[in-house]
Symmetry: T
Subunit: 150 residues, 12 copies
C-alpha cells in the first residue's frame, strides 16, 4: 500500500497559537486528522512526524524511507538553511512536495528562498492548511501515474 510521510519542522507544533494572523487558528493535530481522513478517501496511508530538531527529521526520514512512497514536507524555518535536510531528501530518492501555510514570498526577505524547492517535485505556498491536502491529492495522483508507467 502507498505510504506517505508528512514531515513538519520547528515550531509547527505550535500552530493554532503561533501568530494566528499569519498561520491561522487550526492546530497541527487537526491538520493531521484532516490528512488521515483524506488519505482514507485516496486509499493511502499517511504517517505524520513533527520535530524541532533538524537531526530528528533526518533520522526519521532515513529510518522510514524503505517503507515510504513519498513525502510532504513543511520544514518551517529550516526551509531556508537546512542543507542537511535537503541532502536527506535527495538520499531518500522519494518524490516530495513542499508546503508552506503562509505566502513566504510576501514576508521577510530571508523567507523568499527555500533550499528544498529545487529538489522537491512541487511547491505549494500560501494556501493555509489546505496546502497539505492539496499536496496529498497531488502526491497520490503522481504516485499513481508512476505506477502506471512501470
Amino acid at each position: 500500500m502507498v505510504t506517505i510521510a508528512v514531515l513538519n519542522g520547528p515550531n509547527l507544533n505550535m500552530l493554532g497559537t503561533r501568530e494566528p494572523t499569519i498561520y491561522g487558528t487550526m492546530t497541527l493535530e487537526r491538520i493531521n486528522a484532516q490528512l488521515q481522513e483524506r488519505a482514507l478517501l485516496h486509499g493511502v496511508t499517511v504517517q505524520c512526524f513533527q520535530s524541532n530538531h533538524e537531526g530528528a527529521l533526518i533520522d526519521y526520514l532515513q529510518e522510514h524511507t524503505p517503507n515510504l512512497d513519498g513525502v510532504i514536507i513543511n520544514a518551517g524555518a529550516l526551509t531556508h538553511y537546512s542543507l542537511a535536510l535537503r541532502d536527506a531528501l535527495v538520499t531518500s530518492t522519494l518524490p516530495a512536495i513542499e508546503v508552506h501555510l503562509s505566502n513566504i514570498y510576501a514576508r521577510e526577505a530571508f523567507r523568499h528562498h527555500s533550499v528544498l524547492a529545487a529538489i522537491c517535485r512541487g511547491h505549494i505556498v500560501g494556501l493555509g492548511w489546505h496546502g497539505y491536502l492539496l499536496a496529498l491529492d497531488a502526491l497520490t495522483e503522481l504516485l499513481r501515474e508512476q505506477q502506471k508507467e512501470r
Copy 2:
C-alpha cells in the same frame, strides 16, 4: 455565481509541443477542458484566456474584473519581469493563485524569482497540469470561506 478567470501568458498556447520533457504532452485546450469539468463539479464558472501580449493580459483583466471573483494565473516568462501585470492584479483586488507547470526552482536562475508571487494568495509549482486543478480547488474553497465570513 462565482466566476474565475484562468489566465495564461506567452508560449503557453504551445503546450503539448513545447519542450515536452519539461512541460508535458497535455495541450492547453485539454487543460482548459479539464478545468471546465472540475468547475462544473464545484458549481463555479471558469473563463480561460491566453495571450502572448502582456498588454492583452492586462486589458482582459481590467475589462473582466467587475465580473470576476478570482484569478488563476500562469504568466509564463512574464512571471519574471512583468511588473505591469503585477500592478494589474493588485489593481483588480481579486484573490489570485499563481501556477507553474514545471518546477521553476530547479531550472535556470532567472526563473527562480516571480514578481507576482508576493501579491498572489498562493503559489503552486512543479505539479504539471494538475497544478491548475489544485488551484481551482483551492480558490473555490477560499472564496467559499470568504463568503461565510461576510
Copy 3:
C-alpha cells in the same frame, strides 16, 4: 504651434479606482481635462494617449514624433524595465519629462529605479495629479527658452 504628447502606460487608465490611498481618487480623464485647460492658458496643444501595451506606446511615439515638440510620460510599471520605451524616447530626440503620481522612492524596492530617468530632461515624483500640470508648466517654459536660443 507647440504640441506636447502626454503618454500614460499600463494601469493608469484605472486611476480613481486603483489603490486610491496611493494614487488618489482623480481619474485619468479628469487629469487630461485639467491638462487641456492648462495647455489653453499656455497656448500649447496637448494630446493624450494611454495604453497597457508597451508596443502601442512605442508605435504612438514613432508615428507622432514629426508633429511633436515634447513628451510628458508616466510609463506606469514599464518605468522599471521597458528599455524599448527608453530607446523609443531617445530615437524621437524629443525633450521629455517623467511624472509619477506616488512617491516611488517610498514604495517597493523595484520601484526605486526608472530606466527612463537618465534620458528624460526632468523627473517629477510624488505630487499626485499636480505632477502632470507642473510637468506641462516646465516643458512649455523649456521649449520657449529653446526657441529663444535658436
Copy 4:
C-alpha cells in the same frame, strides 16, 4: 500665514559660477529673489537658508520648525549620504519637496540615490532653477488642500 523654508546645502551658494554647463548661470540670490516674488503671488512667506555645514542645516531646521509649514530642500551632495539631515526632516514632521537642478540620474552613479527621497513628499529633478518654483507651486497647493481637509 503659511511659511516655507527653502534650504540649500553645500556648494549651492556657488551657483552661477559652479560648472555652468551642468547647473546653469543663475545665481542662488536670483533664484531666491524669484522664489520671493512667486511667494508673494501665492500669498505665502518664503525664508531661504544655505550652508555648507550639515550641522547648520539641521540646527536651522530644528530652530525654525515651530514657525514653518513646509520645506523645499536641495541638499546638494549631502543628498546622497546625510542620514542626519534625513532624520532632522522626519523629526520636524513638515512636508518637504526635494529639488535638484541637474538630472542626477544622468550623472555619476553615486548621484542616483537620494537618502531624502523616501521621506519627502515629492521630488523634482533636472528642471534647473524652475524646479524651485515648481516646488513652491506644489507645496503651496498641497498645504491648501491639507487646510481644507482639516
Copy 5:
C-alpha cells in the same frame, strides 16, 4: 526550400533616422532588400518581420515556425529582458543567430547582457548592417551542414 525568418524588434523600423552615429544611415528596408538579394545567391528564402510589440514577435514566430528552417533576430532593447521571446525561440527549436548593429559591449551597462545569447547558435555584434548578411551566410552554411549529417 530553406526558409529563414529575419525578425527585428522595437525601434529597428526607425533605422536610418535613429541615432545615425550609433546605428548608421541605412534603413531597415534597404537592409531587408540586401538580405533578399543575398538569399537569392544562396538559393534560400528570407521573410522579414519587424514589430514594436513583444507579443507580435512571439505570435509571428509561433505561426511561421512550421515553415521555417532558421531565424536571424535582432530583438532591439527586448534583447535585454524579453524572457518570453527567449522561450518562444526555444519552443520553436529553430536554429537562431542573434545580430546587433552596434557594439552593445561598448555602450550602457544594461546592453551588455542578452537574454537570448545563451539559446542562440551564434551572436554577431557591432558590424552594422553587414551583421545581417554575415548571419545569413552563416545560417545557410549551418543548415547545409545539418542536411548533410542527416
Copy 6:
C-alpha cells in the same frame, strides 16, 4: 512572580576554557550564580538553560513559555543562522534581550549579523559576563513598566 529564562546556545558551556582572551575566564556556572544573586535583589526568578542543540533550545522555550515573562538569550553561533530559534522566540511573544560576551562587530564578518536582533527588544554586546547582568536589570525594569501600563 516574574520569571525570566536565560538561554545559552552552543559552546557557551565551555566558557572559562574557551578562547579566554575573547570570552574571559568566567565559567557559565559562575555567571548563572551571579544572575541568581542579582535576581534575588530584583525579586524575580531566573531559570538557566544551555544546550548545543538548536532543537533543544526551541523545545525548552515552547515548554516553558506559559510560565515565563521574558528571555535573556545568547545563542552562540546559532545567532547567525538559526531562523528556527528566531521563529520560536516570535512564537513565544515573550520580550527578549540578546547578549553577546565579545564584541561581535570587531570579529569575523559572519558574526556581524544576528538573525535574532530584529525580533529582540534589546541587544547588549561586548561587555563580557556583565552583559547578562545588565540584561537582567533592563528586562526587570521593562517588565515592571509593562505591568504599570496595564
Copy 7:
C-alpha cells in the same frame, strides 16, 4: 576621579518630541539628569555634550580626551557613516560604549550597520533611555577592573 563623557549626535536634542513612538517621551535633559544622579552613586563624574555637527563632536572629543576616562556615545544618524567620528574615537584611545535608544536592527536597512560598533567596547541597543544608564554602569565597572589590573 573617573570622568566619563556622554556624547549625543544629531537630532538627539529633540528627544521627547521626536517620533515618540520610536524614541520615547523622555527628553535628553532628563536623561542627562538621570545619568548625573547615577554617576553620583558610582562616584564618577559625567559630562554631557550634544551637537548636530560632526565636527563639533570631534572637536569636543579631541579637547576633552586628556581629562576623560571613557565615553558613552549615541551618534544618532552619524552612526551609519561618520568615519571621521570613528577615527576620533580611535585617536582618543578611550574605552567607549555605543548606545541606541531604538532597536536599530528592527528599522530601515541603513540603520543596521554602525561604523562605530567595531571600535567600541560595547554596544547597547533598543533599551530606550535605560541604555545610557546601563552603559554608565558597565563603563564604570570596566574602568574599575582596569584600575585593579594596573
Copy 8:
C-alpha cells in the same frame, strides 16, 4: 597514546546507498574499518562517530576533547552553515583535517564554501574514501612533528 576522532555529519551513515555515482559504493562502516587498520599501522587510536544532529557532534567533541590529539571531520552538509560546529572545533584547540568524498567545487554553488575550512589545518576534497586515509596519514605525521618540536 595518540588518539584521533573521526567525525561524520548528517547523511554520511547512508554512504554506499546514497547517490553512489557521487559518493561511491563504500559504506561508512567499511571506511571506518579501513581507518582502524591504518591506525594500527601508524600506532595511533582512531575513534569514529557519526550523527545527523549538529548538537550531538558538538557534545561529542566537547566531551572527548581532553582525550583527543586531533580530529578528522566530514561534516556533510553542515560544512556549509554550521558555525556552531566551527566554534566547537576552535574551542577544542585540536588540529583538524576536513575531508569531503566528492569534489564539492564541481557541484552546486552552495557546496563551494566551507565554514570549517579556515579553521582546519588541512582540507582534502574529491578523493573518495581514500581522503579519510590520507587525512589520517597527514594528521599522524603532523602530530609527530609537533611532538618533536616540544
Copy 9:
C-alpha cells in the same frame, strides 16, 4: 596591400583534439589554410600567429602593428582576464574583430564576459570555424569602406 593578423591565444593550437564536441574537429592549421584561401579571394594578406603566452601575443602585436591594417583575435581563455592584451589592442589603434568558436554565453559563467569586447569593432560568437571567415569578410569590407571615406 591590406594585411590582417589572425591571433589565437592559449590552447587554440590544440583545436581538433581539444573537446571536439565543443570546439569541433577542425585543426587550427586547416582554419588558417581556409583563411589564406579566402584572403586570396578578397585580395588581402593574412598572417596567423598562435601562442600560449599572453606576453608573446602582445609582443607580436607591438612588432607587427606598423604593417597591419586590422586584427582578428580569438584570445582563448585570456578573453576573460587579459587586460594587458586589451591595452595592447587599444595601443595599436587597429580595428579588431573578436571571434569565439563556441557560444561562450551558453557555457560556464566566467566565459560570459570578454574584456576585449568593448574595444573591438565586432564580436562573432558560436559559429565554429566559420566565425573566422565571417570576421575576415567583415574586416575586409570595413577596411574598404574606411579607404573610401579617406
Copy 10:
C-alpha cells in the same frame, strides 16, 4: 605668485599622538613647517588649513579659490564619504593632489575607496609626511608646465 592651499581634514591635527605606528610621530605643525620651507625653495606660497568640520573645509575652499592656483588635500576619513567636499573641489576647478600618510589600501576595507581620487590630478599614498612634500613638488611642476602651455 603661485599659491597652493594645503587642506587637512578631521583628526589630522592630532598627528604625532594619533596611532603613531600608523601615522608616524611627526606633528601637523612640523609637516606644515617643512612645506613652508620647501615652498620657499620652489618660489611658491603655501597656506595651510585644518578642520574637523566638512563645512569649514568647503567654506575655506570657496573663499580662497580666487587666490589659489592649486590644492593639496588630505581629507582624513572624509576621503571616503564627503561628496560635498568633492563637489567643492570640482567647483573650484583648481588642480588638486590627494595625499594619505598611511597606505589606505593595506588597512580596513572602507579606506580603500576615495571619493576624491577620480577628480584629483594625482594621488600619493603611504609615504608618510614625505607625501605632502612630493605633492608640493609635483603640483609646482604641473603648474609651471601649465603656464608654459598658455
Copy 11:
C-alpha cells in the same frame, strides 16, 4: 609505465626562503626529491616542472600530455585567475590533483577561490610539503583503480 607530471607555478621555486612562516623551510628541490623517492616506492615515474610563466606551464602540459597519466599541480597565484591553465588541463583530459602548501582558506579573500578546483579530481590544501606526497599516493591509487576497471 605510469608517469605523473608535478607542475609548480610562479614563485614556488622560491620555497624555503619565501615567507617561511607560511610556506615552510623546505625547498622545491627537496620536495621534488621526496616525490621521486615516493614514486620509486609506488613504481611510477614523476617528472617535475616549475615556471613563473603561465604560457610555459601550458606549453609543457600540451607537449607532455601524450606521455602522461596524471598531473599534480600547485599553480601558485595563477590558481586564482589562470583560466588558460584551466583550459589546458581540461584539454589534456588527464586526471589532476591540486595541491596548496598553506591553508588558502585562512588567508586573503582572493586566495579562497581556485579556478582549477572544479576541474581537478581532488584538492589537498594546508598540509605543507606532505600535500604533494599525499597527492602522489592518491593519484597512483586512482590510476590503479582505473586500470582495473578497463
Copy 12:
C-alpha cells in the same frame, strides 16, 4: 651602494605613441634617462626593466632581489590581476612603490583596483612621468631612514 629596480609591465614600452592624451608623449627611454640622472643626484643606482610577460617580470625580480634595495613598479594592466607578481614582490621582501602615469581612478572601473597596492609601501598615481621621479625621491629617502634605524 643602494640599488633600485624600476620595473615596467606590458605596453609601457609603447609610451610616447600609446594613447598620448592619456599617457603623454614622453617615451620610456627618456623616462629611464631622467631616472638615471636623478639617481646620480641621489647617489643611488637604478636598473630599468620592461616586459610584456608577467613571467619575465617575476623572473627578473627573483634573480635580482639579492642585489636590490627597493623597487619602483608600474605593472601596466597586470596591476589589476597579476597575483603572481604580487606574490613575487612579497617574496622579495623589498620595499616597493607603485607608480601609474594616468589617474587610474578617473578611468574604466576595472582600473580602480590594484592587486599590488596593499603590499607596496606607497602608491603614486596620475602625475605622469614625474611620478617615477617622485617615487625615486621617496624610495631613496625611505631607504636612508631605514639605514639610520639599523
